[in-house]
Symmetry: C2
Subunit: 432 residues, 2 copies
C-alpha cells in the first residue's frame, strides 16, 4: 500500500470521505517524509509541524468538509499567509510576518485545505540563482526555479499540492525538471493579490500536483471558467498542433526527443497532429517578454531599493536600477505588440484542441542556477493557459515534460485534454 | 500667516529646510485641525496621534532628510501600512493588521514622509455607498468616492498629501468635488503591490495634493518617467485638445460651464484649443470599462465570498457572484478592444500638449452616494495619466474641476502642462 503522503489529492479525498484516512494521519505522513528527506531536498523556507498538526486536528473535527478537505498544500514564500512569515528569500524581509492571507490562500483555506508551510524560492522569485532547494532525484541538480521548493516538495511526496508563481517560466520549468504536473492559468483567472509583485502584466499564480485530476480539482476551487462551454473530448480524431515555438533553437536533445515521442504517441492514439508555425510577429515575443519583465520589475522594486537597497541581491538591484535601460517607449511597444499577438494566437489556437510545445530546454541542469525560461516566456506574455505534463526522461534519466497550451480562458478545456493526454505520456513516455 | 497644516508640501519643505518649521509642529497643526473638524468631516478610518507624534519627533532627529521629509501623508484604508490596521471598510477585515507596507507606502517612508493615518473608503473601494466621510465644505454632500477620506483630509487641511486609488473614477472625481489637485498616473507607472485588488487591468494608485508642484514632487519620489524627454512648455502657442468625451451626455450645467470657461481661459492665455472628437470605436469604451471592472472584480472577491460571504456588502457580494453575468468571452472582447484603443489614443493625443476633458458630472451631489465615474472610466481603461485641476465653482458654490490627459507614460509632461494651467484655472476659474 502507498503511504498517505504519496497519494494524489483526489485519491486522499476519496479515502477521507470513506473514513479510511484522517487529516492528521495524512499530515503526519508528509511530516515523516520531510524528516527523512529535508536534509537532502531542503525545500522549506518555513515549516512548523506543531501548527500543521493543530490545524489538521481542527480539520478532522469539522462536520462540513470542503472540496480540498485536509489536503496538504505548500505555498511559495512570495505569497502571503496569515499564520506564517513571508520572507521572499530576501534579507530585507527576514522575519516579516504580515498577518493576512493572499487571495489564493484564503480561497484554499475556505475549501478546507491544510496550508502546510512555505517553500524555498529565488529572491523575490526574480532571479535564476539563490535558494536552497535541490532536485529530489539528484541533489547535484536544481529543481528549477523560481518556484524551486514548491516543485520539489510535490515531486518528493512531502506535500500533495503546491502553489508557485510564474512571470517567465517559474512554474512550468520546475514542473518539467521535477516530473510533475504544473499549470499556469490564464493571466487574471486567479486573483494575484498577496503575491509579491515582479511584473504586473506577467505575474501569474502557478499550481503543482501529481495528477491532472488534482489540477482539475484546483480549477473547481478557483472557479476557473472558459470563454465557451467545454465540449466532450476524445483523443481519437483530436486536432493537436505541434508548435516548436520561436525558441526552438534553445532546445536540447532531451526535449527534442520527448517532443518527437509525444507527437508519435498522440498519433498512435488516433490524434491528428499538425505542425504549427506561428506568424513572423511572434518571433519578437521573447524579446518583448524580456522588455516587459525588466521594464515592470524596475517599478516593482523601487520601494525595496529606496528603503534598503544594500540588502538586495545584485541581480535584483540591477532590475530595480533598470540596468538594461528599458525606456517607457520600449515598454509600450512590447506591451502593445503582445496585446496584438494575443488576439492572433487565440484565433489560431481556436482551430485545435490544444497546442503541444516544449516545457524546458531539457533535463534539470547540474548546479544551483535554476535554468532558462526561453520556452515558457512567450506563453506567459500571451496570457494563455499552459499545462506541463510529465512522462519523458532524458539521457541522464531525469524527467522531461511537454506543455499544452490553448487560447486565453480555455483553461478547463485544456485540463480536459490534459486528462486524456497525461496518462498516455506518463505510461508510455519512457518506453522505447 | 497661514497655519502649518494649510501649507503645500513644497512650501512646508522650504520652511523646514530653512529651520523655520519642525516636523512635530507641522504634525501638531494637522492634529489640531483634525480635533476641530473630525466631528463634521469624519474622514479618518484610523488615526493614532501618539504614533504620529512619535514618528514626527524621530524625523526631526534625522540628519539626512528625504525629499518628502516630515510631510503628513494620509493613506486610503485599502492600502497596507506596517504600523496601522488596514480594514477596507469591511467587517471581514475588522482589526486586520498585516504588518507590511504597500510598495508605495514603503517608497514614501524611504523619502522621509510622515505616514499619518488611514482614511475612509467605500467597502473595498468598490461601491458607491458606505463610508463616513462628508464633504468639508458641506457635510450634507459626499466628498466623492471611493477615495472619500483621502480627498476630504487634503481639501480640509487635515493632511498635506493623500493616497487614493482609482479603478473607475475614485481618485479624480473626489478631487473635483473637493476642489483639490488629483492625479491618476499611467497604469503600471507606480507599484500597486499592497493595494486591495478590485480589477487587475484598471486599479491604479491615485495622488492628492493642494498644488501641481506637490504632484511633481510625488512624481519625483515615485520616479515617474516619460516615454520621451520632456521639452519646455509655454501656454502661449500650446496645442490643447478639448474633448467632451463619449460620456458628455452625463455632464451637468456646472461642468459644462466650467469646461467652456476653461477653454476660454486657455485661449485668452494664447493657447490653441481645438475640439477633439474621438473615433467611433471609443464610444464603446464606457461599456468595455464596466465589463472589465465587473469581470475582474468577480475574480478579486472570490476569496472573500468563499471565506465569509455573509459579511460582504450586498453590492460587493453581487460583484463576487458576477451577478451581471459577464462571460470570459465578453471580458476578452473588452480587454482587446481597450488594448487597440490605447494605441490609437496615444497616437491622437501625441498631436497635442494635453487633452482637456471633464472631471465629473458636476458638483458633489447631496447625500451619501459617492457619485458616478462615467467621465473618468474611459481614461482609466486607456491607462493614460489624468490630472484633475481645481478652480471652478458650480451654481451651489461647490468646486468643479477639469481634467487633463495625455498619452501613456507622458505623466511628467502632463504635470508640466498642469503647472502652467493650474494657476490660471485657480485664479480665474470663478471670476465672471
Amino acid at each position: 500500500m502507498v503511504r498517505a503522503n504519496e497519494l494524489t489529492a483526489t485519491h486522499a479525498l476519496r479515502l477521507m470521505r470513506a473514513g479510511d484516512l484522517s487529516v492528521e494521519a495524512l499530515a503526519q505522513a508528509c511530516l515523516e517524509r520531510i524528516r527523512e528527506r529535508d536534509d537532502v531536498v531542503r525545500a522549506w523556507a518555513y515549516l512548523d509541524p506543531e501548527l500543521v498538526l493543530r490545524n489538521a486536528r481542527e480539520l478532522d473535527k469539522r462536520e462540513i468538509k470542503g472540496p480540498l478537505h485536509g489536503i496538504p498544500i505548500a505555498v511559495k514564500d512570495v505569497i502571503l499567509t496569515e499564520d506564517m512569515p513571508t520572507e521572499h528569500n530576501s534579507p530585507l524581509y527576514k522575519g516579516s510576518f504580515p498577518a493576512v492571507d493572499a487571495g489564493c490562500v484564503k480561497t484554499l483555506r475556505a475549501a478546507g485545505a491544510l496550508i502546510f508551510g512555505k517553500t524555498d524560492t529565488t529572491e523575490f522569485a526574480s532571479v535564476t540563482r539563490g535558494g536552497t532547494a535541490r532536485h529530489p532525484l539528484d541533489p547535484g541538480r536544481t529543481p528549477g526555479g523560481s518556484s524551486s521548493g514548491s516543485a520539489a516538495v510535490v515531486a518528493d511526496f512531502q506535500a500533495t499540492i503546491a502553489l508557485g508563481t510564474q512571470t517567465a517560466g517559474s512554474t512550468i520549468r520546475p514542473g518539467s525538471f521535477c516530473g510533475i504536473y504544473a499549470m499556469k492559468p490564464t493571466w487574471g483567472a486567479i486573483n494575484r493579490e498577496g503575491l509579491k509583485m515582479l511584473a504586473l502584466s506577467l505575474d501569474t499564480l502557478g499550481l503543482y500536483a501529481r495528477s491532472a485530476e488534482d489540477l482539475d480539482l484546483l480549477a473547481d476551487v478557483f472557479a476557473l471558467e472558459d470563454r465557451i462551454p467545454v465540449a466532450p473530448f476524445e483523443l481519437r480524431g483530436a486536432r493537436i498542433a505541434s508548435c516548436r515555438s520561436p525558441a526552438w533553437d534553445k532546445v536540447e536533445p532531451a526535449t527534442r526527443d520527448a517532443f518527437e515521442r509525444g507527437i508519435g504517441l498522440l498519433r498512435e492514439a488516433g490524434a491528428d497532429v499538425e505542425p504549427l508555425e506561428l506568424p513572423d510577429a511572434f518571433d519578437s515575443l521573447g524579446e518583448h517578454h524580456a522588455t516587459v519583465m525588466a521594464g515592470e520589475a524596475h517599478v516593482s522594486f523601487l520601494s525595496e531599493i529606496r528603503a534598503q537597497g544594500e540588502l538586495l541581491h545584485d541581480d535584483v538591484a540591477a532590475l530595480a536600477k533598470n540596468s538594461k535601460g528599458i525606456s517607457k517607449s520600449a515598454l509600450l511597444t512590447a506591451l502593445d505588440a503582445a496585446a496584438a499577438c494575443r488576439v492572433t494566437f487565440d484565433a489560431i489556437a481556436a482551430g485545435y484542441d490544444a497546442v503541444l510545445t516544449p516545457s524546458a530546454r531539457g533535463e534539470a541542469p547540474e548546479g544551483t542556477k535554476t535554468g532558462e525560461a526561453a520556452l515558457n516566456a512567450i506563453w506567459t506574455l500571451l496570457h494563455v493557459p499552459v499545462v506541463q505534463i510529465p512522462g519523458f526522461k532524458g539521457p541522464s534519466g531525469m524527467p522531461v515534460g511537454l506543455s499544452l497550451t490553448s487560447p486565453r480562458y480555455t483553461d478547463r478545456r485544456l485540463l480536459q485534454v490534459t486528462r486524456a493526454i497525461g496518462p498516455l505520456f506518463e505510461s508510455s513516455g519512457t518506453e522505447s
